[in-house]
Symmetry: C2
Subunit: 521 residues, 2 copies
Amino acid sequence: MRAASAVTLTFLSAIICCSFTLQLSPPNIIIMLMDDMGWGDLGVLGQPSKETPNLDAMAAQGMLLPNFYTANPLCSPSRAALLTGRLPVRNGFYTSNAHARNAYTPQEIVGGISKEEILLPQMLKKKGYVSKIVGKWHLGHRPQYLPLENGFDEWFGAPNCHFGPYNSSIRPNIPVYNNSEMLGRYYEEFKIDKETGESNLTQLYLTEGLDFILRQSDAQQPFFLYWAADATHAPVYASKRFLGKSQRGRYGDAVMELDYSVGQILAWLKTLGIENNTFVFFTSDNGAALISAPNEGGSNGPFLCGKETTFEGGMREPAIAWWPGHIKEGTVSFQLANVMDLYTTSLALAGISPPEDRTIDGLDLTPVLLNEPHLLLDRPIFYYRGNELMAVRLGQYKAHYWTWSNSWEEFKTGINFCPGQEVPGVTTHNQKEHTMQPIIFHLGRDPGEKFPLRVLTKEYQDVLSRISPVVEQHKKNMIPGIPQLNMCDMAVMNWAPAGCEKLGKCLKGPESKPWKCDWPH
Amino acid sequence: MRAASAVTLTFLSAIICCSFTLQLSPPNIIIMLMDDMGWGDLGVLGQPSKETPNLDAMAAQGMLLPNFYTANPLCSPSRAALLTGRLPVRNGFYTSNAHARNAYTPQEIVGGISKEEILLPQMLKKKGYVSKIVGKWHLGHRPQYLPLENGFDEWFGAPNCHFGPYNSSIRPNIPVYNNSEMLGRYYEEFKIDKETGESNLTQLYLTEGLDFILRQSDAQQPFFLYWAADATHAPVYASKRFLGKSQRGRYGDAVMELDYSVGQILAWLKTLGIENNTFVFFTSDNGAALISAPNEGGSNGPFLCGKETTFEGGMREPAIAWWPGHIKEGTVSFQLANVMDLYTTSLALAGISPPEDRTIDGLDLTPVLLNEPHLLLDRPIFYYRGNELMAVRLGQYKAHYWTWSNSWEEFKTGINFCPGQEVPGVTTHNQKEHTMQPIIFHLGRDPGEKFPLRVLTKEYQDVLSRISPVVEQHKKNMIPGIPQLNMCDMAVMNWAPAGCEKLGKCLKGPESKPWKCDWPH
């Protein structure tokens, strides 16, 4: 009897100890954010050439979220939203130079992420997290805007897109940083062969990620890894061993290398025995760039149009949550969710309350992720383009208040965000207002947004009466932030990034001549 | 030692016995053919509302074939091709009334499957198979064309589509047969409520399938079950317990019930312990009928257009092969394959040589299915519309020799086979000939057929030089069958099917007044 009791006691204390530990020890957090990868680029989401065995396995071991959205149909605002938990129109990552325009952070941008914003790594510090970003930053490239000035402890990657190569007298090549100093520049020290598509950057990013995970695991310190590889953004690239391996050409090769890398990272967590203490989320920053298709653009599956638009193809993202022992394997959640939820959810996992002095648009998804995949938290999705609320999703219904693909002028030069697709009155080439009578789709029956509900039906009127107050409430409470993406200046480009002296790679830029940036779409 | 030897001997003889039996005993064959279900309707192929857990599990336990095709973009010719192993233009399931027209077997059709054709169940009889068709026949409804006259031992289902209800004086409702006699008619004894979409037909088909499997299993006789449910063909229907359960409305409800039924059939094989001796193949007869979308039409995922067209959306089909212990689980084969291969492959599994006195278009897929998923047998895919070879796929390339969605006249009345899609010069509304300079797509990079290769590129010229001889050879050797779908007559409709006397359900038809059927698209 005494022996049995002792065993029971030990067993009980083990349970108490462990659930206690689990509650007290916050999990590591890895957010893998792809660049211009589309919803339809994953095998598990219907890519016919099935290039993603590791991501498909990740979904089979975790939770797939087919209704996951970005906050904006392009890169910089989407990334700013993820790291602030706030819509770009609140955190300032938009332009007011013209109506409903997509703005981002090219080299000539003057602005960047506002000091008023509180980024995820800043918050996670409260619980001792060490944070690293690997890959593309895109929240401003001037010194004060860089990752180590904004909460990250480490960085390996670049502040802007890997466009180029540039003639250094007109425009410098983009620097690649190791923490607060540049290591070299794209097309110079960091090669991308635009002829062959060869570059080892994804391998560098993988190694940097694995190394960071190992160091943090050894140090037994919780970590946040923001793994933001950009191989699927044009100019698309892959390492030699992946080039020519896919059925899709260079784009598919890049997907295969990213998929391989995801597999390596998950396997590494298992090797280190920390998979049960590491929450991993995979998604992308916006829809596939159909303007670069078919050679350098991905797939948005059955959805309409792509990057730059507020149709589903522009903003619905592949999304997988993975955390063995915590997220039930092989589940699908139809929860409407978005990148800003990753902010709030990460804070919840770390046991940190979100900032209370501002509106946070992200939702805590832990009830869905950890407890009940069938739970559907009630919330709308807002589709912004620049300073305009273009559309709103509520349940299965999406109401378009403004439609626009791109302008006739642009379209006539061959720039097409909806190649091969045309829905009359929907994929419009002028900014068309529908605020008095929104175009409404049922995204369950019609995920491709091809069959607007007829206005005179009861269904339309019912939906409208439910969506209208949501929109009204949202607009009433909206206090836009100061727009950070209005001004451009050739003088602010990456002429002389920190560390350039040591490398002898400082360039001299022109005099400052700021102008109001022109955002054509 | 003696005891040990005895055990060894028993063990060895058990091995010998069983592998011997396995080789000699041909497997049961189940072909599940869906009606108008699209490639993109399966969760594993990217349907966002993920309604097919059983089919997704079937793929995970078996082999997925993302490059599987039908033989024609609509029902009757596709089914005739499956059961004869021959292109419709050979087996006579086409029309020569006009150029490149889709023809099928409505009630007024005079013809049906030719007695010259040798159907799969007729061949399988050679090895003692008992064959049953459950569901839609569609190879002609006049007495001589019915299943029991063409090799099947049993039938539960109907000869035509479940259109209706009809006023019996103008047009009779379609009969439902049990073997060689009608049991009643759609909308009369076999209810389909077009208001609510409720019908228990899929449940009847499921029960019929399970019952046949049980009887054959008990009798230890090899069987061929051709399970041809039609709930996803408009008017779409589902049982009460599935209605309203999907995110897609009635169409998704029907998919869920079919998926449930597939799960029940596979589970039944396991319950009976015959799963290792039963080859199961799941596919569909043609692309989703986008003309019925979004309420009663499915999804072709990323592919162009739908049913009735020779674009990928019209002819690429969902396809899963399942045979535990024989087909490696969780595999994907990119083999170019089609419904006619099911004929040849079934014969190979049964150990029967295909007919030698005629061209068989089907290929034996067993090397791919059973041995080597990465093997790619070299073969083209031919896309026919009626009597015209519209396109050819070779490897990743597809060359269109003729393009046509539907006529301007039809299109202007609202009939649209490519809603929301328009690829200039490709989705044409007149029959456009490109035989001198085919439109070529790379289906790996561009599965949606939106970006034709430029004619002056080396890639185009290389492809053309490889495809041209294949086309030439095919045309040279093509001996078209006598077209069976040219004549219509109101007198041949289902006025007085066999068994109608017993039920008091014989109707009197009009005098025979045959005419050349008009096939508008």
